[in-house]
Symmetry: C2
Subunit: 423 residues, 2 copies
């Protein structure tokens, strides 16, 4: 078995055997297959794809590069959610305590943001005192006591994926449905959850720009989860426009807390409840999450979850020193608020990072004052930019140049939850 013959087999459109996949990933982790060889193989996979069996084996080999957790000693079913990443996607912050308050346990191992979509850990770290680095014992203890935990993945969680993801990021090989599906599912399966709902985003602010691509990714991941003994389903949801009004770390935490308090933007509430219902269905808990959100039990669980990880739910959140208003140049209906542009603007304000070792600004980001479909007057404030350094506004405003479309009609749009994939 050697790396070149495996690369050539895939390059020429062949199907890799189980033994080849096991060997190449194991050798990569042991540094016997070089970075440049894995980069060439990743590009060959972008080119030729992988069939369902290859993807399943690739995923299994990445899980086996570390340890698949067994979450034992729980008196309730486990269920997790994963989003493929969108602009203003603070759903996890509300959904995790909500579903836990409904009677399930939510064991979420999460990541940091890279590029124009934020990372859940970055958002939670804007809460004074909150920390993401739990030991395995701390993670399981919090799952038993609170039922909700969001923490950083440890070095045991699919280490092959961690290395491969960093490599793909610098070699232009991120955009491959088989590699994306294997990356996400290896981590979620290894995490030990019994059930999983995938929020697969579609649109300008999402990784998948078209519905067929998003559907293919969703179907691939649902099959991978199911075949690995994890009850899995997916919702395809609209990411042409940002979710809610806030994009940025502390700004999104504040909006999540509003939703937990019974308010907040209608689209955030709608998607949170749709995903909560899907998660509760998967584990057979006949509870209406709308009641649990309305009566404050979700908020109580949020406070316990934050406190268990050292955070102070009552502390003031960090705010950026500088603000800049973006005004409507004309009157009309806001037919489009482009998610990618808003995400890029928030990133340029300092909410995201260029390199993975960069820090992020807790207070930076974008708050929208108007959502898609609103009627605006010339001079109305459309959005406010937040940054620690006003020098950042130039790039952010450039990103927003085409973000807002003010027209005569109401615009065509997809429903927020477009369709469901799953058994």
């Amino acid at each position: 078995m050697d790396a070149v013959s495996i690369i050539r087999a895939k390059r020429d459109g062949g199907v890799l055997t189980d033994a080849q996949i096991d060997w190449v990933l194991d050798s990569y982790v042991r540094r016997e297959v070089a970075e440049e060889q894995m980069a060439a193989l990743a590009m060959a996979i972008c080119w030729r794809g992988m069939d369902r069996r290859e993807i399943a084996r690739w995923t299994a080999a990445m899980i086996d590069s570390g340890r698949r957790a067994v979450l034992s000693g729980l008196d309730r079913p486990t269920v997790d959610k994963h989003s493929t990443g969108g602009v203003g996607d603070k759903i996890t912050l509300v959904l995790t305590p909500l579903v836990a308050a409904c009677g399930a346990a939510v064991p979420q191992l999460s990541g940091r943001g890279l590029g124009h979509t934020g990372g859940t850990l970055d958002k939670l770290e804007s809460i004074p005192g909150w920390r993401s680095d739990l030991t395995k014992n701390q993670f399981e203890a919090q799952l038993r006591s609170v039922g909700a935990v969001v923490a950083a993945a440890g070095p045991d969680l699919a280490p092959a994926d961690a290395r491969l993801y960093a490599l793909r990021d610098v070699t232009g090989t991120v955009e491959s449905v088989p590699l994306i599906a294997a990356s996400i599912m290896s981590k979620k399966i290894a995490e030990g959850t019994g059930a999983l709902v995938l929020d697969v985003k579609v649109g300008s602010g999402a990784f998948m720009k078209t519905l067929p691509d998003a559907r293919e990714l969703a179907e691939t991941m649902v099959a991978l989860g199911t075949d690995s003994g994890v009850r899995t389903s997916a919702l395809l949801t609209d990411m042409a426009t940002p979710l809610g009004l806030a994009a940025g770390n502390a700004l999104e935490v504040a909006e999540a807390v509003e939703v937990l308090a019974g308010g907040g933007p209608a689209d955030v509430v709608e998607l949170t409840l749709a995903l909560a219902r899907e998660m509760l269905d998967l584990v057979g808990l006949p509870v209406d999450p709308a009641d649990v959100l309305a009566d404050g039990r979700a908020m109580d669980c949020w406070r316990r979850m934050v406190q268990a990880q050292g955070g102070d739910p009552d502390a003031a959140l960090p705010a950026a020193a500088e603000r800049h208003e973006v005004l409507a140049p004309a009157a009309g209906v806001l037919t489009e608020v482009d998610a990618f542009a808003v995400g890029l603007a928030a990133w340029r304000c300092g909410a995201g990072r260029v390199r993975k070792e960069d820090p992020v600004s807790a207070g930076a980001g974008v708050t929208l004052r108007q959502q898609r479909g609103a009627t605006v007057h010339a001079g109305d404030v459309l959005a406010v930019l937040h940054a620690d350094d006003p020098a950042r506004f130039g790039g952010a405003l450039e990103a927003l140049a085409e973000a807002f479309t003010i027209g005569g009609g109401t615009g065509e749009k997809l429903p927020l939850v477009i369709e469901r994939v799953g058994g």
Copy 2:
């Protein structure tokens, strides 16, 4: 300018700009573009190809990574030959002194073998005392005094190509017409020759297995040379069966000396004269090389060329300690002698190397006793294997298992010189 956006552009089927090509190769040489990034780009080029302008710029950038030589102070025209590599291809050994003896100067910078085809330097190094490492001054002095020189490329000759070639070898990205053409032509243009004849091999023992692929490579290279001010033409020649009877380093030198002495296999003589005529035509020397071969002037030049580089043309050549005969299993016409199988057998006997730092055996290889088209009886010796260690014969015999086809007819075959490409 950054590597990821260039990789993504090619991955998505785009055409790279001159600035992108210059930047990525320059940054690669300066180690600011990483090996894994160049590997991904090379695979994307295998996938998407490059157009003529991209290939020309890629070639120019590789030349500019070092220095393009100017061969001055010569009283005769310069012309070189490059073969894309075949089994038993010792043509350079005869052709270089022959064309020099006809009045041209042949400034050949050559390489070593990797895989089943031998390298010209490895062959010449089997001559006791001969050395390939000349300084630029020694190289030019020998070109003036002898008119013929075959030496190793120095570190100034297209260093980007040297690194890229080593990378492609370990990443399954060798098989790309644009990258092959740019690699060959960057070295030949940088070498400083005024004219160039390409021997593009077609068939099982060659890199290009089919005539359309070989034609595409030939046309690409002829255009590259012509556009860079080098008069260039190509012959497409048959490599379904080995050239001559010998495959192996000293074994091929001995056969070349036979041809220089007026004997040797007819196919070696035919191809040598065809390439010599093409070279002499390009530089306008109306000499018949057959006369120069017949009257011993080519042999004289060979002796001076070998001596000028420290070699003893009268010394006995190294011979392998062990021999093994391969017998005909049945009577009939030898309709096929497969070039790839014979090359692989010679390589496994020790004539070639697995890694580029491996030594080669001077005496190892295969000598055929019969060529394609011969009538044989059961038990006739078809070939003799030569190796320093008899343990090598097992693998070599395995390689030869299907090499010889004995049938009833005479077999279909292409002419040795299939067609010419050039202005």
